[in-house]
């Protein structure tokens, strides 16, 4: 079996002889550029700047060379434009605060503010106000909230729909090209089409828009779930209509060449609890997720991928009812997220994509031995009867000791009988 076949089998909940591995297929399963450089050095690869493919979180490209070394089975197909609204092209050199030479897209336009922090501009246009900032001591950007006054009693739906547009011919030819390049690699393919995330708190501030209108403040957005639930439902209803039309066009171009669609990264969990109760989820979100997932399931062979950090055990059955096939990042150290319990209770219906090693304690601060033990234990639990893709709990951060990452990879190779 090749990587793609193994992925298909595990997604179909069939026991495989090897664990399917992902690093870098989605903006939540990636590796920070600094860690990529450390890994390249460790493996003695040619010294050259790593490409920043997801500039917001400064995730780097896991290229073919690294994919082979890390035994990666899946390739992520990025959306045509980044979260800052520009395309990943015309690469240029850039020196980060931590002194790393990286490659960034030509439109990665930045300035320094009076505190010495780095500001970045939507669509690379420095004539508008910056949409995100990287603190001088930070490793990634965060949105700058650009909240203009809005009509509180009767906010405009249109204003919050600006970013959900029909796909263009340019998008479609981009996707055709992606399939041409990656379709016959024998790897599983994860498509990040965009437009299918409902109320993702990372996207609400709209770092890609030059002049965002509507509700763009994170706290106001959270409160809207109580004060104006109908407003949110209307947005999600119309957004999901647009998304289904787009999916139809995209399907006509990519067909069943892709295996998984990255649908939504909205985090419903905190370390100990959730951002809403199951009833609220079922009322405000579920019907619209369902609309998109139902279209996909009745017309394609794609599986749908839902990311939500945190302690979401109480919402998992609702995620399943919403039509999601895959849950990520499976934050195993959050309250109620016991791996054995999750696998027993939901393992027949849900694929766990993540949960391979905890990143808050073990990977970041543990010893290589502890990492290896946990990787073994999690693979043992999650891979039973398929339904598992190995990934760390969320992206691998900049400051993780490289020995720990190597211990994780070596352990995976041993489990897979490759070492």
């Amino acid at each position: 079996m090749n990587s793609k076949e193994r992925l298909k089998a595990t997604l179909a909940h069939q026991q495989g002889s090897r664990i399917v591995i992902d690093f870098g297929s989605a903006p939540v399963t990636g590796i920070h550029v600094l860690m990529l450089e450390k890994l390249r050095d460790y493996y003695g690869l040619e010294k050259r700047p790593v490409k920043v493919t997801e500039p917001y979180q400064m995730l780097g490209e896991v290229d073919e060379e690294l994919r082979e070394l890390l035994c990666v089975d899946v390739i992520g197909l990025l959306s045509r434009t980044t979260i800052f609204g520009f395309e990943n092209k015309n690469w240029k050199e850039f020196r980060t605060f931590w002194g790393q030479e990286v490659l960034v897209p030509g439109d990665f336009m930045t300035t320094l503010d009076e505190r010495g922090d780095l500001l970045i501009y939507p669509e690379g246009d420095p004539s508008v106000s910056p949409s995100a900032k990287m603190p001088a001591s930070g490793f990634f950007f965060d949105a700058i909230i650009r909240q203009d006054p809005f009509n509180e009693e009767n906010p405009s739906i249109e204003d919050n729909l600006e970013e959900f547009k029909p796909v263009t011919d340019k998008d479609l030819s981009y996707w055709a090209e992606q399939i041409r390049v990656h379709g016959s690699t024998g790897k599983g393919l994860v498509a990040n089409f965009g437009g299918t995330a409902l109320g993702d708190i990372a996207l609400v501030p709209a770092t890609f828009l030059k002049h965002p209108k509507g509700i763009r403040d994170i706290q106001e957005w959270y409160m809207s779930s109580l004060t104006r639930p109908d407003f949110l439902k209307e947005i999600f209803d119309r957004q999901s209509d647009v998304a289904v039309e787009n999916l139809k066009k995209l399907y006509a171009v990519v067909g069943d060449a892709i295996d998984v669609v990255y649908m939504c990264g909205n985090d419903f969990g905190t370390q100990q609890s959730t951002f809403c109760d199951p009833d609220t989820f079922r009322e405000i979100y579920l019907p619209y997720y369902r609309k998109m997932n139902d279209w996909i399931h009745s017309h394609t062979t794609w599986k749908t991928f839902k990311h939500s950090c945190g302690a979401v055990e109480t919402l998992i059955s609702s995620f399943i009812d919403a039509g999601f096939d895959i849950l990520n990042p499976v934050q195993i150290n959050a309250t109620g997220m016991d791996p054995e319990y999750l696998k027993r209770k939901y393992g027949d219906q849900l694929v766990f994509w993540g949960g391979g090693v905890d990143t808050q304690k073990v990977l970041a601060f543990g010893t290589p031995g502890e990492v290896s033990d946990q990787v073994r234990r999690m693979c043992g639990i999650f891979s039973k009867n398929g339904g598992f893709v190995f990934n760390t709990v969320h992206n691998i951060q900049a400051n993780v000791p490289v020995e720990n990452v190597v211990a994780m990879i070596d352990t995976l190779k041993k489990i897979n009988g490759e070492a």
């Binding site: 505190r115 922090d117 900032k133 603190p135 001591s137 930070g138 490793f139 965060d142 009693e153 994170i218 706290q219 959270y222 409160m223 779930s225 109580l226 004060t227 104006r228 905190t270 370390q271 100990q272 609890s273 959730t274 951002f275 809403c276 109760d277 990143t359 808050q360 304690k361 970041a364 601060f365 951060q397 900049a398 400051n399």
Partner: protein, 223 residues
């Protein structure tokens, strides 16, 4: 209306996030006065502003804090409660400024350098304010120099630091060390998703709590 009725109604509005007459939330209080109007009326009819703070706002925030800890309510509810509290606070501002109403002390709060998560930090700030303290919210990515400058401006203040990332826990450690060198008597409370009690002991901070209600209870013990 009796003072005590006003106070209970204010506490109720804060607990349930009823901001003002116009606010549509919560639906079952539509068309009723909110924290805004009731506080105004209470003051006009002679209720002591200090009582409004301690028996109205603090009570309401405490009730929501307890429910939040018990996971009966979620982040949006706490944000609504805080909004109701803030509207009422506006009416109390003149009394704070004139010194007619004293708060329990000053707490400086911020998310540590390099970290931009602020939802949890803001909730802690709101709950501390709702505990009767003056809160100075320094925002996110707070640099050591800024923090120390503020500490010097507010003698006797307490510091609260939040970190949500393993990559910024080391910044928290450095900040705590610097404060303890420059202002050894300043108490420091820490929290955030990856932070633990052991980490708190290890870096020499004074207090850790996994939830904001714990902070409010701790603060009660130190005055």
């Amino acid at each position: 209306m009796m003072n005590s009725d006003f106070l209970e109604r204010i506490a109720y509005c804060v607990e349930y996030g009823k901001v003002s007459l116009q606010s549509p939330y919560p639906p079952d209080m539509k068309g009723q006065d909110g924290a805004d109007e009731i506080t105004r009326k209470a003051l006009d009819e002679g209720t002591a502003p200090g009582l409004i703070l301690s028996e109205g706002l603090v009570k309401g925030m405490e009730r929501i804090g307890v429910k939040f800890r018990a996971k009966q309510v979620f982040v949006p509810h706490v944000l609504m409660s805080a909004k109701a509290m803030n509207t009422a606070m506006e009416h109390l501002k003149p009394y704070f400024l004139s010194g007619a109403v004293q708060r329990k002390g000053t707490v400086l709060i911020g998310t540590v350098a390099g970290d931009l998560h602020d939802i949890g930090k803001n909730i802690v700030a709101m709950m501390i304010e709702g505990g009767g303290w003056e809160v100075i919210n320094l925002g996110v990515d707070v640099k050591d120099e800024e923090l120390i400058e503020e500490i010097n401006k507010h003698p006797g203040c307490i510091v609260a630091l939040s970190a949500l990332l393993t990559t910024t826990m080391v910044n928290m450690e450095n900040t705590v060390r610097k404060i303890k060198i420059n202002n050894p008597n300043t108490r420091i409370m820490i929290g955030g998703a990856p932070v633990t009690r052991e980490f708190c002991d290890e870096i020499g901070a004074d207090f850790y709590s996994p939830d904001p209600q714990g902070v409010v209870e701790y603060l009660k013990t130190i005055i």
